[in-house]
């Protein structure tokens, strides 16, 4: 099932994958904050392309582009709804200012999605679980998270087996009107749910049998240690944040349409002068 293949984390070893997830998360949050600071197009474009070196270093280009396409639909929706409102608000005229701010809003959304996408694409679930654990999230939640991820491929396979078994009893999923088609899924869902319940019981038995709950002070086989790459990322993040705040406060950020307008103006002058 291709839907689940995106969640099957492949073990890719890249410098980005090995970074401490906590630091990566702080970086992503900073990008989020900066994206909110600016509504001008130019800084947002810069912010967008800032993700690219990370994507390339982590070698997740294909998956990243795929998530871009996914975000594209929602982005288009955001663009058109905002644009229509601005259009009507401006008295049914297309103002360059409105166009730019709408594109800016859309791009802000895309940047948000893309930076989180990079985070999830470069952080394996066990790494993420470990980070959560070390940030004092109660172990029950971390365990629930990592166990759920661990069983995703198992559930996918089971769903396939159940579908095969029911098809072999004459179940035709594609047949019938809308209501019938939904009811066709009952013979698939019920065995899945029953199996999930049975599985939870067996898991609980296994957990108890391995001393679950013996002590509140749980230790861990692994420990996240900060390394050179992590400190580098902290430095980069701090610099970007500082620069962004400084520019916001002290440097006037031009609107793209103004720049384009002045370029066209300069181009016109040049053409007139040359001719």
């Amino acid at each position: 099932m291709s839907v689940f293949s995106g969640l099957k984390f492949r073990k890719v070893y890249s410098p980005i994958h090995n970074l401490d997830p906590r630091i990566k998360f702080i970086y992503v949050c900073v990008i989020f904050v900066i994206a909110i600071l600016y509504s001008e197009l130019i800084p947002l474009i810069v912010l967008f392309f800032l993700q690219v070196p990370f994507v390339l270093l982590a070698r997740v280009q294909r998956e990243w582009v795929r998530s871009l396409r996914g975000a594209g639909y929602l982005a288009a929706l955001i663009f058109f709804t905002n644009f229509i409102f601005k259009f009507i608000g401006a008295g049914y005229t297309i103002l360059p200012y409105d166009v730019e701010t709408t594109i800016g809003l859309t791009l802000r959304f895309v940047v948000l999605v893309e930076s989180f996408s990079v985070f999830f694409l470069t952080t394996s679930p066990d790494h993420l679980g470990l980070a959560l654990e070390q940030t004092r999230v109660p172990y029950e939640f971390v365990f629930a998270f990592t166990t759920a991820v661990r069983f995703v491929p198992v559930l996918a396979e089971e769903a396939q087996t159940i579908m095969d078994a029911q098809k072999a009893r004459g179940l035709e999923l594609e047949k019938g009107n809308f209501m019938k088609r939904i009811r066709n899924y009952i013979p698939i869902l019920i065995p899945l749910i029953v199996s999930a319940i049975r599985r939870s019981l067996e898991l609980a038995e296994a957990m108890e049998s391995r001393a679950w709950g013996a002590t509140k002070k749980r230790t861990n086989l692994y420990a996240l240690k900060m390394r050179k790459g992590d400190f580098a990322l902290i430095a980069i993040t701090a610099t970007i944040l500082a620069a962004a705040i400084y520019i916001r406060l002290y440097v006037p950020v031009p609107m793209l349409h103004d720049i384009l307008a002045s370029w066209t103006h300069t181009a016109k002058l040049l053409t007139i002068t040359l001719l």
């Binding site: 087996t161 029911q166 098809k167 009893r169 019920i190 065995p191």
Partner: protein, 274 residues
């Protein structure tokens, strides 16, 4: 009749599960398909009811190419009993469970009633007609799953690992059940790695390894051939193992039944002046 003509099949993840398999199974035969996990046994039988279609080659059921018929159509003639009954049980009562396929295939209500009664009777489940299948024990659930497939009386029955988790008596009952089905001229195909069970049934055996069929013959011949069994990573049945360890005696080569073995050994031991 099932005809497999030079079939190749690969899964989405690239694994080549079948690499040129050709065989014929005639009506009324009893075949055991054996081999290690991953040899391609289940992949092969899933082609018989159309769950899988070959990438290359052809599978013909009664002369018709499986790519030309839907899974539902093929299932009318080829019943597939999955390994885990919990993959299919979902109804409120055993009765409903058995009726499910019959309704899918469009049988009329009176016929469905009769079929349910017949299937329940066949598998000793009549007292559970109105019981929820989830309340039954593991062995009982297996019988409900089997009943729900037999209800529409398919010509061919595929059993995927029917002996897993079964105790000795349950396996005996299964063996007798298969014999009973054979008297009704049903074709039985069992995918299994239980050598002792196969030794007791003595069917035709197909050995598979890495997507190919490496041996095809009667159990007494195949299960007593140590070389071919090693290739398929199968341990011979105990009786065959014993005989293989006594080469000096020039014993008959194809013994897998304990009573026959006893007779032969008794003869030899008594002849040597005991």
């Amino acid at each position: 009749m099932i005809e497999v003509k030079d079939v190749y099949f690969s899964y989405q993840n690239g694994v080549e599960a079948l690499k040129g398999v050709s065989l014929t199974i005639k009506d009324g035969e009893f075949v055991a398909i054996m081999g290690q996990n991953g040899a391609g046994k289940t992949t092969l039988v899933k082609h018989f009811n159309g769950l899988l279609k070959p990438a290359k080659g052809q599978v013909l059921i009664d002369g018709v190419d499986t790519t030309k018929r839907s899974i539902a159509e093929l299932s009318k003639d080829v019943g597939f009993v999955f390994q885990n009954p919990d993959s299919q049980l979902f109804s409120e009562t055993v009765e409903d469970e058995i009726a499910f396929a019959l309704k899918n295939f469009g049988y009329e209500t009176e016929v469905i009633e009769k079929r349910i009664t017949w299937a329940l009777n066949l598998l000793n489940l009549t007292q559970y007609r109105k019981t929820s299948p989830f309340m039954l024990s593991g062995g009982e659930r297996k019988r409900v799953a089997l009943a729900s497939i037999l209800a529409w009386d398919p010509k061919t029955l595929i059993l995927d690992e029917p002996t897993i988790g079964q105790d000795y008596e349950q396996k005996e009952k299964l063996r007798q059940f298969i014999m009973q089905m054979r008297t009704q001229q049903k074709t039985i195909i069992a995918v299994t790695h239980d050598v002792e069970f196969v030794a007791e049934c003595n069917p035709r055996v197909l050995l598979m390894r890495e997507g190919k069929v490496i041996a095809d013959g009667i159990a007494t011949r195949i299960l007593t051939d140590p070389e071919i069994l090693t290739q398929a990573s199968i341990v011979p049945p105990q009786i065959a193992q014993i005989f293989l360890e006594l080469p000096g005696l020039n014993l008959q080569k194809d013994i897998i039944d304990v009573y026959e073995a006893a007779r032969i050994l008794q003869n030899i031991l008594e002849k040597r002046g005991r």
